[in-house]
């Protein structure tokens, strides 16, 4: 057997072990999420009863718990996918929707829209909220990349530009919250990233957008793998790298923005999930990194939310607080690694 065959075989084996392990832990945490809370419940009963309640639109404790756990899974996967796409399109291991200011941009636009209309569950209102958030996310992303391009688009300049843009939009979104709204606690809890009020209306756009993104990614899987290596290699697969990058950037911003529209800003998952996946797998091949990132993102947020709601009951610690405590050290690690390698790719 050649060394290359051995490499391929080991890569596949490592993926299978890691993916199975993470998925199993996710399943356990998911069941724990269903059973733990104000009172202990049998997770399987919660699941069965919860499905019935969600379908009949008559939410009790079971339906609420199921919906909340599902939300953590879906949002985690969505943010991981967004982060993964951002890292591939920018060839920057520090890219993440929160770090690049996208989440804050989306947050700002949604808060702004609340000044004109109260959120409702009407399908049109849901579509509008998705669009509003996306426009904010996209604006922030373009702004970040524009500022970074003035400093040579290195990983560090992108990071710093993102911090500037993100801080601006985050602060700008706090302003109207304090001035305009009576229900300020609810709004602040949402903007800080929380799964306290899950709803099927919020999950549907998230699932639709993520599914569409995954289908697109499947269709462009060959050039996508090359996009993180060289634009010339993308051209050799017959795709225009700039157009591909634009489409994927749009999708990445969209994914993060839709998540922000309903669940506020949740940082670092998009950074940590793909980063840890590549480390664990010892490869950057997207066939392996993407699925592992998705389940890892789900695991990080489901576990964070579980910790948040069970640590000091009856206080609900926002999921973002716990998730950031896992994600921020990953960022620190990534920065140290980049430094050690002498700057890394741009």
């Amino acid at each position: 057997m050649s060394s290359l065959d051995l490499f391929i075989k080991r890569r596949r084996k490592r993926f299978l072990i890691a993916f199975t392990l993470i998925t199993s832990v996710l399943l356990i945490v998911f069941l724990a999420h269903l059973s733990l809370g104000y009172r202990f419940l049998n997770p399987l009963e919660v699941f069965v009863e919860g499905v019935a309640q969600v379908i009949s639109r008559n939410l009790g404790v079971e339906g609420y718990r199921l919906l909340r756990a599902l939300t953590a899974v879906v949002v985690g996967a969505t943010l991981a996918l967004s982060g993964c796409l951002m890292q591939v399109t920018t060839k920057n291991p520090l890219a993440d929707p929160y770090i690049l200011g996208v989440s804050s941009g989306a947050l700002f636009m949604v808060v702004l829209s609340f000044m004109f209309a109260q959120p409702t569950a009407h399908p049109l209102a849901i579509a509008l909220r998705t669009l509003t958030a996306s426009s904010g996310g996209m604006l922030a992303y373009l702004l970040t990349m524009f500022i970074a391009s003035k400093a040579g688009t290195t990983p560090t300049s992108v990071l710093l530009a993102g911090v500037a843009v993100g801080t601006f939009f985050y602060s700008a979104s706090l302003l109207p919250q304090y001035v305009m709204f009576q229900d300020i606690h609810k709004l602040i809890a949402w903007s800080m990233g929380s799964f306290v009020s899950p709803s099927p209306e919020a999950l549907v756009p998230l699932i639709v957008v993520s599914a569409a993104a995954l289908i697109y990614i499947y269709l462009v899987r060959s050039p996508l793998n090359n996009l993180q290596i060289s634009d010339d290699f993308v051209r050799q697969t017959g795709y225009n790298p700039m157009n591909l990058r634009r489409c994927l950037t749009f999708l990445a911003s969209l994914l993060a923005s839709v998540s922000v529209a309903w669940f506020g800003v949740i940082g670092f998952v998009g950074l940590a999930a793909p980063h840890i996946s590549r480390r664990v797998l010892g490869t950057s091949g997207l066939v392996y990194v993407l699925p592992t990132s998705l389940v890892l993102g789900s695991l990080i947020l489901t576990a964070s939310d579980l910790i948040g709601k069970t640590l000091v009951p009856p206080v609900e610690i926002p999921v973002n607080v716990i998730a950031s405590m896992i994600g921020a050290p990953t960022l620190a690690l990534a920065i140290v690694e980049l430094k050690r390698y002498g700057g890394g790719g741009s």
């Binding site: 290596i229 697969t237 590549r278």
Partner: protein, 241 residues
């Protein structure tokens, strides 16, 4: 391979100004000072940049080929890439869906990448990265191969291994272009030389004919001493002319 009146412009600047060439199977060196248009010429022939004029590969116009045919027929191999730092050497050589999977392990051996496969690109030397890119590109088994600065980063041993191997490939009927300024050992190993200067062809012919002219000192602005040892031609740059 035939190139007629090939011109390429980037953002207002004309990089190639009406290049005409006719190359058969064999090993051709593309030489010229920095910024002469060597890379652009290679990329245009490979269909990676837009151009005016005509490029014909094996009597078929590049523009008339569909994407899949073009991708199979011609391969451009860059000297270096700036990838996401976590990409491994193994990921890199396996990233091309067009490679001949029978050939890839062979090139991994020839270019001695077997101990590097799990290493991240951020941790390999430029010579090792160059070897990985060569393994990936050569495994496509194209009939036209355009190598950009393949000798600049690899050590002398791999320079000779590579050139010897390219010679074998050219004898199988491939058109191989090597853009490089490593005149030694390049000029001892190639059949033809294209000297590019200021976006135009300054010389096209055999190595022996090249050395009869003052092309080299004209385009590089340096005087050369030619030393012959057996079949080996060495050019020693002496001083600015």
């Amino acid at each position: 391979m035939e190139v007629r009146n090939l011109s390429v412009s980037y953002g207002g600047a004309q990089i190639l100004k009406g290049i005409n060439l006719r190359l058969g199977a064999g090993l051709t060196a593309v030489i010229g000072p920095n910024g002469a248009g060597k890379t652009t010429l290679l990329k245009a022939i490979s269909g990676l940049v837009g151009f005016k004029g005509i490029v014909k590969l094996f009597d078929r116009e590049l523009d008339s080929l569909d994407q899949a045919e073009r991708v199979r027929l011609v391969t451009y191999i860059p000297p270096i890439v700036e990838a996401l730092p976590d990409v491994t050497v193994g990921d890199l050589v396996l990233s091309d869906s067009m490679v001949d999977h029978g050939l890839l392990p062979k090139y991994v051996e020839i270019l001695q990448l077997h101990t590097l496969l799990t290493r991240k690109l951020s941790l390999v030397s430029s010579g090792e990265l160059s070897r990985a890119l060569l393994a990936r590109g050569l495994s496509r088994n194209s009939r036209v191969i355009a190598l950009d600065e393949p000798l600049s980063h690899v050590d002398v041993r791999f320079q000779l291994i590579l050139l010897k191997h390219l010679r074998t490939l050219s004898q199988e009927g491939r058109v191989i272009l090597i853009a490089s300024n490593q005149l030694t050992p390049l000029l001892s190993q190639v059949d033809y030389v294209v000297a590019v200067n200021g976006g135009e062809v300054a010389f096209f012919g055999s190595v022996a004919d090249l050395l009869k002219t003052d092309t080299l000192s004209r385009i590089y602005g340096v005087r050369f001493e030619v030393v012959r040892v057996g079949d080996f031609t060495d050019l020693i740059p002496v001083e600015p002319s």
